[in-house]
């Protein structure tokens, strides 16, 4: 079958990015990113279960500069996915479908995700956790 080389119709790239579409794809991207982040959680737990030496090694890895940046990105992905996920659950329940509401909830998610990430890291640093 010569179905592989058929011309494709214009797709996403012909549309101007809008907050609706951008937040939607971000939800998917942050979800995929966190599926990798979840592996780090399993790694951390395994190290903790393997004794003090293994745990110290894991902390060394997780606490190094580049990895800390990755952890920061993971934490942002978590708070974004959390906020926008609640937005999706509200939609699933039939709430907030009017366009002004969609825009308002969208910008709320954007702001809340940054604020929560910031508060989370302030909490970590203030507690001497990091």
């Amino acid at each position: 079958m010569a179905s592989d080389n058929r011309p494709l119709s214009p797709h996403l790239q012909v549309y101007r990015p809008q907050i609706t579409s951008v937040l939607s794809i971000l939800h998917r991207i942050t979800g995929v990113v966190m599926s990798f982040g979840a592996l780090l959680l399993a790694y951390w737990l395994l190290a903790l279960a393997s004794g003090p030496v293994a745990y110290a090694g894991a902390l060394e890895v997780l606490g190094s500069g580049p990895v800390m940046l990755i952890l920061f990105a993971f934490s942002y992905c978590f708070f974004y996915h959390l906020c926008n996920g609640l937005r999706h659950l509200a939609w699933d329940a039939g709430w907030g479908f009017e366009l002004p509401q969609v825009y308002a909830s969208g910008w709320t998610v954007v702001i809340a995700s940054f604020v929560l990430t910031l508060l989370f890291w302030v909490g970590l640093l203030a507690g001497g956790s990091v």
């Binding site: 998917r28 979800g31 995929v32 966190m34 599926s35 979840a38 592996l39 959680l41 399993a42 737990l45 395994l46 903790l48 279960a49 003090p52 745990y55 110290a56 902390l59 978590f78 959390l82 996920g85 609640l86 999706h88 659950l89 699933d92 989370f120 909490g123 970590l124 507690g127 001497g128 956790s129 990091v130």
Partner: protein, 126 residues
Amino acid sequence: MSLRTPLGKALGLGSAKDGTGHWWSQRVTAAALALLGVWFAFALVGLDGFDYQTVRLWLGAPLNSILLIILVATLFYHSSLGVQVVIEDYAHEDGGKVVALVLAKFIHLFAAVAGIFAVLRISFGA
């Protein structure tokens, strides 16, 4: 060779017949993770310094062990459901798609069991 038309074969079969279960599971695990995730974020902030003894002591408390096991199980299940949809959406070549789907399932299951095993091991004092 069948005498039935292609349309006649397809009528009444629906698409895949089990989309609702996947959709609903994703929502229920999302609701659970919203609660568990916030709990875990607060717990992390409370774990001063992340030193070995502090974290072991916190994790060994029965309620924390229970919630963490539920968190790990729900997290990897939710992640598995999500990654599955992403692969189905973007992988168009049948062979590669099946391999990717099965591989993603295997990795999720392995990570979930590893995480739960680790919590149990700590909780039971090994």
